[in-house]
């Protein structure tokens, strides 16, 4: 897996956690099931900052733009279909080996792609 793609996925996972922390409804449900959540995690923000510092500026700009536009900047590709806009990706891409060894984007919606199959 490309190191930049790895960082992008980790950043996305961290952002999802931070978003859930701010989501009052999600907090209430978690707390009802016995989980105790902090209101603010400096540790997690620090982890995010570390990831951001390792990301190439070009990817960071694009990532932030996609997050702001779609709420999700990276989507899985399952059976050759973009998990964001559900367009069938070109077969040439689908047949490439080690597809996660490079950073790629959906030609239609622009989201970053993570190939699961």
């Amino acid at each position: 897996m490309s190191s930049q793609l790895r960082i992008l996925i980790m950043l996305h996972d961290v952002d999802l956690l931070l978003r859930e922390l701010k989501n009052q409804e999600a907090r209430k449900v978690e707390e009802r099931h016995g989980f105790k959540l902090v209101s603010h995690s400096q540790e997690l923000i620090q982890a995010r900052n570390e990831l951001v510092s390792k990301l190439e500026p070009m990817h960071l700009t694009r990532y932030e733009r996609l997050m702001s536009k779609y709420g999700r900047a990276i989507v899985p590709v399952v059976h050759g279909v973009c998990g964001g806009c559900f367009i069938v990706l070109p077969t040439g891409e689908a047949y490439q080996k080690d597809k996660n060894d490079r950073v790629s984007n959906c030609a239609n919606c622009g989201r970053y792609l993570y190939w699961i199959d």
Binding site: M1, M10, D13, V14, E25, A26, H33, L44, I74
Partner: protein, 165 residues
Amino acid sequence: MEVAIHQVMRLTQFLKEEMIILDLASEKKEDVIEELVSLFPIDERAREILIDTLLNREKLGSTGVGRGIAIPHCRSLVVDRLMVAIGRSRRGLEFGSLDGKPVRIVFLLCAPPQPKPIEYLLTLGRVAELSKEILKNPRLFETDDRAEFMKILIRCEEHIDKGAK
């Protein structure tokens, strides 16, 4: 809300015996998470990311919910479906639980980000409910047979469902 939880799914419908460790080798939270994630059918790099995300989730508050139960959980891009692994520790684990008691059973839950958050939370609720029900079944803490462990879990879920009707 309770009815909705039961409508989501039965955890034991997709939990496989291979996803159960009856005698966890690890003693620390980080190692236990790694040991359980190693059961998932994902590649090594994806596994590393998932472990990082689970540990990041722990920074928001321990998932040791008390009564000897921990439910580490997260949503991550590297899984394409809900994945659950269960580990049991004979010695008990230090998990930073709310009641300070050692953890005996760990339910590890990972889901992709795609479904709506509420679906994930409902599944989490189901696990939390199951974790309470299993406390009424001491045999679950004794058996060395994964098939029997599964059967007890299935019975617990049936009991939860009956209670909901």
